[in-house]
Assembly symmetry: C2
Homo-oligomer: 96 residues x 2
């Protein structure tokens, strides 16, 4: 659970995708591809973005809803809220 979360955040492209969804929610796969390419200068294939979104979704950072042939993606920042409290607050025990 926490492992999937940290692993999802470990990749710079995935963090950029989160940035993109934070700025404009409800984007489709192609929209994300286009904006990654144009705004961020990232040359990345559609399939690669699709796989990144799957990882983010498995970590609970992205939720998706399907409408017809479109699939819209939204950021869910809730898992990020208390990410580092484990170390920033006086010691609690937590599972890795």
């Amino acid at each position: 659970m926490a492992d999937e979360l940290f692993k999802a955040l470990a990749d710079a492209t995935r963090r950029t995708i989160l940035d993109e969804l934070a700025e404009r929610s409800g984007q489709t796969l192609f929209e994300i591809c286009t904006r990654l390419s144009q705004k961020h200068g990232l040359a990345i294939s559609r399939q690669a973005v699709s796989q990144h979104l799957a990882v983010l979704e498995a970590a609970g950072l992205v939720v998706s809803r399907r409408e017809g042939r479109y699939k819209f993606h939204d950021l869910d920042a809730a898992p990020l809220e208390h990410l580092a409290e484990r170390w920033t607050r006086p010691h609690r025990e937590d599972t890795a």
Copy 2:
């Protein structure tokens, strides 16, 4: 910078080391090895821990001070303070 930070957090063993240093600061390499093995049941070599500490130190999460033949390690939670604000606050642009 942010990349090293997230990469450092991506490994479960390194997160456990941070837990350990949060609970008791100023531990040496051998102390950390011992406690990882005993408290957390992790079978891990000294060299592996040493490499993990190097990664954590490169990320600014651990600072070390040498005294004689001992090297003491301390947690620095400062880089963790505003880790996720990038996504939890209304959008700011940040570099990946």
